[in-house]
């Protein structure tokens, strides 16, 4: 019945329904849970309770936050008025970059939005769109803090994009594909020297790439050891200084959302994504997977994502800030040579075995 009804709708309608369903049914509750998890986690690390008032145990904090910021005045400073249009547009570009990243994430054997052959390539390309938003925000604010923050952010994102891309190459060599779905399958059907009890999550065989990738993610998110662009002790809050009201909230929530999405992509690349080792249930290919994995898969992916987000935030609250020159040196003289060496080592081992 449903299938017959669906086939009546033209393709663009089907894909639109899929996107709307996914956004409302999966990403909205997921966002609420992650937001609460992060806030509680941060609070406990700083010996405080965190959100307690909005809903039971503060669970409606995200909605309370949105409700509050909706009522705040939206200020465009006079100096920024000539560029008001792009000043207002900048947060939306950052948000769009995050949304576009979600497109390629596979949540289960059939639960996915798209199945690009070059999925990981797409993800890496789209993730750098946010730099544009940040540069625009920094420039159009007509504020010295914002300008410096925007320039720093651009310099940093450019430097850490490379280790990230090169770390992913190691995974692509091992999996032999850029399709995220196939990377998941390759990890869960794989075996380490004949032992297939845990599959072959690349966090074990590509440990160096995993570490490099996570460091680069930390820098791309401008989280604390790498938060020079929004260093509050010298730049107030960098490119966000002049933003107020709901546009500030878009930047603020976009930061957490991007942390979540990057963690999802990292868990797909390195932790086996939505899958469990197929040998546990006697599956062999992606077609033999039971249907319940379309519900269980997203939950598994979600758990792995929360673990990685936890690590990102843990590091954020444990380390002091890098200096700008240290930060650049670390990327160019540390991470990039390591990532290149990792590529060659992986390739040699792949050909040898």
């Amino acid at each position: 019945m449903l299938a017959a009804l669906l086939s009546e709708i033209p393709y663009w309608g089907q894909s639109l329904l899929r996107v709307l369903g996914g956004l409302v049914a999966v990403l909205l509750p997921a966002g609420t849970v992650v937001y609460l998890f992060l806030f509680k986690m941060m609070s406990f690390m700083q010996s405080r309770l965190g959100p307690m008032e909005a809903g039971p145990y503060g669970s409606m904090q995200l909605f309370a936050e949105v409700g509050k910021w909706l009522q705040k005045e939206d200020i465009v400073p006079d100096a920024a008025a000539p560029e008001a249009r792009i000043f207002k547009l900048a947060p939306l570009i950052v948000l769009a970059s995050t949304f576009l990243l979600v497109v390629v994430v596979p949540f289960g054997p059939d639960a996915l939005f798209t199945n690009f052959e070059t999925g990981i390539f797409y993800a890496l390309a789209v993730s750098s769109v946010s730099v544009l938003g940040i540069l625009i925000a920094g420039w159009s604010s007509a504020n010295k803090y914002s300008l410096l923050g925007g320039l720093r952010a651009a310099g940093q994102l450019v430097a850490y994009e490379l280790p990230m891309v090169l770390a992913v190459v190691g995974v692509v060599i091992q999996a032999g594909t850029m399709n995220l779905q196939q990377i998941v399958v390759a990890q869960n059907t794989g075996s380490i020297f004949g032992f297939d009890g845990v599959g072959n999550p690349y966090v074990i065989t590509q440990f160096v790439a995993f570490i490099v990738f996570m460091i680069a993610v930390q820098a791309e998110l401008t989280q604390t050891p790498f938060d020079m662009p929004i260093a509050e002790s010298e730049l107030v809050s960098g490119y966000m200084t002049e933003y107020s009201g709901f546009r500030f909230l878009i930047f603020f929530i976009g930061e957490f959302a991007t942390a979540g999405v990057f963690s999802m992509i990292a868990s797909i690349l390195f932790l086996g994504g939505w899958g469990v080792p197929f040998s546990w249930f006697g599956w062999t290919t992606i077609d033999s997977i039971d249907n319940w994995m379309n519900v269980g898969g997203p939950l598994i992916l979600f758990t792995k994502m929360l673990v990685l987000v936890f690590f990102i935030m843990w590091i954020r609250f444990s380390f002091p800030r890098f200096r700008e020159d240290q930060l650049q040196r670390f990327a160019w003289k540390g991470l990039i040579p390591i990532a290149l060496a990792n590529i060659m080592l992986t390739a040699v081992l792949k050909v040898a075995f």
Partner: protein, 130 residues
């Protein structure tokens, strides 16, 4: 309702990119909708002090678009070089099984040249952010 016309002959490749369009639109529509609601209920009482550029509480000095040294343009050039290399490395990485030893040596030469470039920039002192 929508100007998007998808013909039956459209390839699945292009079709899957339709989802990308929806997501991009969704980002702007959701944010636009909330900003619209916000415009209805938020106060709007500008005054001269409020509309001043923020500079730690003192009156701003000079223009906000002050001159600053753009240190990273050499980094940006290096980035473009390395990023283009990455585009070449990815297809090779997917087909490594087929090319085996030959591909390995080829890419070894390629990465060695790349590393030489990095070492050259390093020795030239370009990688210093001061």
């Amino acid at each position: 309702m929508s100007p998007v016309v998808v013909s039956e002959t459209m390839s699945p490749f292009l079709r899957s990119y339709l989802t990308v369009v929806w997501f991009g639109l969704a980002a702007f529509l959701i944010a636009g909708l909330l900003l619209g609601i916000s415009a209805l209920i938020r106060p709007n009482k500008p005054n001269a002090q409020k509309m001043l550029t923020y500079e730690s509480g003192v009156d701003p000095v000079g223009s906000g678009w002050s001159q600053s040294q753009i240190r990273y343009y050499v980094f940006a050039l290096l980035f473009v070089i390395f990023d283009v290399e990455a585009v070449f490395i990815f297809p090779w990485a997917t087909q490594l099984e087929r090319y085996a030893g030959f591909g390995l040596i080829e890419m070894g030469v390629f990465v060695a040249i790349l590393l030489l470039g990095l070492v050259y920039a390093w020795r030239k002192g370009v990688l210093r952010w001061v």
